[in-house]
Symmetry: C2
Subunit: 273 residues, 2 copies
């Protein structure tokens, strides 16, 4: 039973809340029963797992998870609530935290149909990035590209907000000079990169999203970066029409609204085929 | 110059971070230049305003705002950064905080066209409720109804996330026995109350949102309340189709996706008329 917050495993897990710790250990922190289940369901096993028996066994799901982890020979370490709190990024972890390997994701394989991709251009709020990961996956995107100015996708807040999308959606760190070529390989011409810009006359739902296309989400405060401006043709600036007084939507909400319009158009096309 | 965190005005503003304080004073806390501007733009004046001259005059917008407030005879009190921090709900307020009167909003007037309404059924996350307020306004809803289980719409976190929607969108506190009749008066028949339910076969975009209708957003963890279940016909349960592995979307994102589908259908109808 691990009791001390200064236990080496506890400290190693705690360091995964920082970019440096994740880089050095090549792992990221996953908290709670549900997210660890998501990892297993995607065929990934934690490297280390710290749990509090009293807390985890309270639910049938918790008991099932412990059995699965144990059957898979994962290093399972029993710990006190206090030790788990020290390893975790939240004040009230659900009694189980785990370290998973950081996946090095290559550009995803070219899809059969027309690809839908998401590019985050210096998205800095962890909640926004997590929500975009979740929405991109749900809307059927083939992957999400992150430019260097983005918040680290594996920071615990992003992981919590993404609800397991980290295990299922390819997350590609790349730079603007490379992104258009990477998308081109997946069948997305650089002419089909779209982004929102306030005051643009083209409404997002006028776009033909059934063609291979990518949606670029810009920084919450500063808008599109100079690099992104050079990559995205200004003819591809779109907007979401709103009632007069509202200036803008939250970046993650705006992105989600557009991604689900793309998904809707693709469904309509399929149902006609 | 107010310097002490225990100054009575500072303490009164600080108490507005609690439901009890807001109820007793009949006011709510608005932080930052932009939100206070939004209040003025909607014709509302703060009762009290605490500002730090050095911080606010840094920007032209800040200077303009001080002039406007002063011209409107608002009680403007200069304070130290420390005093403003003590009055505020955030660790780094932008140098200005104000108390606005809580509006008692009646059911909004019946609109000319067909009404779109939002009902929050025990939505408890402040960020979600704020985002829903912002999206409901942007999508052209006539008002948002909140059941007693919802987080207080005037708590500082909700106010921050809603980006000024509090000044522009009618926010109605009501209970399930009353809501259907209130909506009916606005032309929304109770048969047109829709809500998302996982596993439902009717996709949200198959609904005719150009008719008067209301979207019910359920609690993030527990789903629809029993009272809501009695009010919403189960034939009106809808879902957002998603790629296989994702279980659900964030409540505010799901609500926003549906509200903007409603707005889209209404635009398409108008452009045909």
């Amino acid at each position: 039973m691990i009791e001390s917050p200064s236990n080496p495993t506890v400290r190693a897990l705690h360091l995964l809340s920082t970019s440096k710790g994740r880089r050095e250990q090549g792992r990221f922190l996953v908290e709670g029963i549900r997210l660890i289940e998501d990892g297993l369901a995607s065929g990934e096993l934690p490297v280390t797992c710290l749990y509090n028996y009293d807390l985890v066994r309270r639910t049938e799901r918790g008991q099932m998870l412990l059995k699965q982890l144990s059957a898979a020979n994962v290093t399972l370490l029993e710990a006190t609530e206090r030790a788990i709190e020290a390893a975790s990024d939240t004040p009230h972890p659900q009694g189980i935290v785990a370290a998973f390997r950081l996946r090095s994701v290559d550009v995803p394989p070219k899809p059969d149909g027309s690809a839908l991709a998401v590019v985050c251009d210096a998205v800095q709020d962890p909640g926004n990035l997590g929500t975009l990961l979740r929405s991109a996956e749900a809307a059927g995107a083939i992957g999400i590209w992150l430019t260097p100015g983005c918040v680290d996708a594996y920071s615990p807040k992003v992981v919590r907000a993404a609800m397991g999308a980290h295990f299922r959606l390819p997350i590609i760190s790349s730079t603007w000079p490379e992104i258009p070529a990477e998308l081109e390989k997946l069948g997305i011409p650089s002419a089909n990169l779209y982004t929102t810009e306030a005051g643009t006359n083209i409404s997002y739902d006028e776009i033909d999203w059934t063609s291979p296309s990518a949606l670029v989400i810009s920084n919450e405060a500063h808008g599109l970066s100079q690099d992104a401006r050079e990559a995205v043709n200004s003819a591809r600036f779109i907007s979401i029409p709103m009632s007069s007084h509202t200036e803008s939507l939250n970046a993650a909400v705006a992105g989600s609204v557009i991604l689900f319009e793309a998904a809707r158009q693709r469904r309509v096309l399929q149902s006609r085929a």
